[in-house]
């Protein structure tokens, strides 16, 4: 990523805590490579978001807008 030219940056620094984290924050327990990791949770969340978007759009467009008073025709 962005820091590949900085020699100090490598995978082994991953256990380094965030400077804004709470003391006593749990640390990384395992390492997941790209091959081992499928973002299932992300997919689930984003499908929910997609469903909300579709429902809200249909409601806003067809009920709130086209169903509103004083039909504008031009």
């Amino acid at each position: 990523m962005s820091g590949t030219t900085v020699p100090a940056e490598s995978n082994e620094t991953e256990a380094e805590p965030s400077v804004s984290a709470a003391t006593g924050q749990e640390e990384i327990q395992r390492e997941l490579s790209h091959e081992e990791y499928d973002p299932k949770g992300t997919l689930a969340l984003i499908l929910i978001y997609f469903a909300i978007l579709m429902a809200m759009w249909v409601f806003m467009y067809f009920v709130e807008f086209l169903g509103n008073e004083l039909v504008v025709v031009g």
Binding site: A22, T23, G24, F59, E64
Partner: protein
């Protein structure tokens, strides 16, 4: 008693409760806009805050691990 892991700390609890509060608040808007159910504001919000407070106190008392005093 087993508790979900997000109530291990007060900080996490605060974030969770405020998120629930926001969702509860939005639900009234959804009921009003989408379903035409006009829930009276004052009882609804007072009730919501009361329930969240009770949940918060309960979770705090029964918090299982990590007793450090974060927010």
């Amino acid at each position: 008693m087993t508790l979900p892991s997000f109530v291990r700390t007060r900080g996490g609890m605060l974030v969770g409760l405020v998120m629930l509060g926001a969702i509860g608040f939005e639900l009234r808007t959804v009921a009003g806009m989408l379903f035409g159910i006009d829930l009276p504001a004052a009882p609804y919000f007072i009730g919501m805050v009361a329930i969240l407070s009770i949940v918060g106190v309960y979770l705090d008392v029964t918090r299982s691990t990590s007793p450090d005093t974060a927010t």
